[in-house]
Symmetry: C2
Subunit: 248 residues, 2 copies
C-alpha cells in the first residue's frame, strides 16, 4: 500500500483478501464497521476497498446497508477444482442414496484436522443438520468425521484426540472411548454418531477407498438409527464401492 499506512508492509491485496475472509457461514451479511473490524482494517480504508469490490460485483450491498458476497465471487468460486473429480464421480451415487433413503446425504474429505463437506443433499424430514457445502465440522462428532479420523495419519489422530470439545451432552470427549470406536470403525467398515453433533440427529458413514487409501467418506443423517442401520450401511457401502471403482 502506498503512503500513510498505520501498519506498513500490509499490501492492498492482503487487505482485500482479509475483507473477503471476513465472511463465513455465521456471517453472511456484514455492516461496513463489522467488516472492517473482522478484517482488521480501518473503516475508511475498508470503505474505499469495499466500494471497489461492489463495483466489481465481488460484493453486493443489501438495501439494509449490509454487505454480502456477490455474484462474481460465486461463479468464480464454482470454478475452483476442489476435489472436482471426486465430486463429479460421486454425484450420481449420492443421488441414489438420497433417493433410496430420503435422508440427508453427505460427501466429505479430511482437510487437516476437520471434515470438509463437499456435497450435501437435504433430506425431507425435520432432522436438524448443521453442515453446509464448503464448511468444515469437527472430526470427532460427525459420522463422516469419525470415518476420516479412523483412517487418518497418527499425528492427526493424536492432535484430535488431544482436544475433544463438547458440542452436545452426548459428544464423546474421552479419548479412550473414541479410540475404541475408531478401532471398531476400521474393523466394521462404518461409523455412527448419536446426537453427538446436534440433538435429534444420528448418522452413519462409510469410507470411500481408492486403492488402499481412504480418500473420502459418505454418510447419511437421520432422526434415529434403530433397525434402519443395517440397511443404511449396505446402501452406503454399495455407493462407496461404486465411487471408489470409478475413481481409478
Amino acid at each position: 500500500m502506498a503512503g500513510n499506512s498505520a501498519r506498513p508492509g500490509v499490501s492492498v491485496t492482503s487487505r482485500v483478501l482479509a475483507l473477503l475472509g471476513a465472511f463465513d457461514e455465521r456471517h453472511r451479511a456484514l455492516t461496513l464497521t463489522d467488516l472492517a473490524r473482522r478484517a482488521d482494517v480501518p473503516v475508511p480504508t475498508a470503505h474505499r476497498l469495499v466500494r471497489e469490490l461492489v463495483a466489481g460485483d465481488a460484493l453486493a450491498r443489501r438495501p439494509s446497508g449490509e454487505y454480502v458476497v456477490g455474484r462474481r465471487l460465486w461463479d468464480v468460486g464454482l470454478l475452483a477444482p476442489v476435489e472436482a473429480g471426486l465430486r463429479r464421480v460421486a454425484e450420481p451415487f449420492l443421488h441414489d442414496i438420497h433417493a433410496a433413503t430420503r435422508a440427508t446425504v453427505h460427501l466429505a474429505v479430511r482437510d487437516g484436522d476437520e471434515a470438509l463437506y463437499l456435497e450435501r443433499m437435504s433430506g425431507r424430514s425435520s432432522v436438524p443438520v448443521v453442515s453446509q457445502i464448503g464448511s468444515t465440522l469437527p472430526l470427532h462428532c460427525t459420522g463422516v468425521g469419525k470415518v476420516l479420523l479412523a483412517h487418518a495419519p497418527d499425528e492427526v489422530q493424536v492432535r484430535v484426540l488431544g482436544s475433544l470439545p463438547r458440542v452436545t451432552r452426548y459428544t464423546i470427549t474421552q479419548p479412550g472411548l473414541l479410540r475404541q470406536q475408531l478401532t471398531r470403525v476400521r474393523r466394521d467398515g462404518f461409523a455412527t454418531t448419536t446426537e453427538e453433533m446436534s440433538l435429534g440427529a444420528c448418522s452413519v458413514a462409510v469410507p470411500v477407498w481408492r486403492g488402499d487409501e481412504v480418500v473420502a467418506s459418505i454418510g447419511v443423517v437421520v432422526g434415529a438409527l434403530k433397525r434402519d442401520r443395517p440397511r443404511l450401511v449396505v446402501a452406503l457401502q454399495v455407493a462407496a464401492q461404486g465411487i471408489g471403482r470409478s475413481l481409478r
Copy 2:
C-alpha cells in the same frame, strides 16, 4: 496504484478482480502469461499479485505451473446469497424430478439477456449437456431460456430476438419463428428445444410462478423427446407448482 503505472487510474483492487475474472468455464487453469494477458495486466505485475493471491489461498498453483481458483474463493463464493431462497426451496423438488426421470435437471433464472443456471443434477445417460452451475447460456436455444424469454419484459425480447446467434444447425435464428414459439410457450405452459443448443440433446422446461410473475424455470435434458414429452411436462409442472407454493 502507486508509482510508475503505464495506465494511471487503475487501482490494485480492480487488477485483482480482473485477474480473478480471467477464469471462466473454458479457462479453469491458466498460465501466468495467459492470466496476465486475459486480465490485461503486465506479466511482472500479475506475477506479484498472483503470488499474494496464492499465499492467501485465493488461487492455487498446479504442479504443472498453471494457476487455478483456490479453496478460499470456493468457500467464500458459496456464501453468496445468489437466489439462495429459491435454490433451497427448489432442491427437493429437483431431486424428485431427477429421481423420476433420470434425466439432467436444471434450475435457471434470467440474468439480463441470458439464462443463469443455479442448479444442475446430471442424468445417467450420455446426453451431451453443456450447462454448468454458475454459468450462463443463451435464452433463445435452451429450454429454460425459452421459458424465461417468453415471460421477460418486452425490451429483453426485442434485444434477444434482434440477435439470434446460430449454435447448431437446428438453432432457431428467425425472429418470427421464435416469436411464434414464445406465444405457444405462454399458451401451453412449457417450452421445448430439439438439438438447438447441442446435437443429440433435447429439452423441456416449464416456468416457476411466484404470484403472477415468472421467477425461474425448471427443465430436463434428454436424448429425444418422442412420446416421453407429456410425462416430462407433467412432472415438471407438478414440481414447479410445489416450488412456487413454497416461495410465498
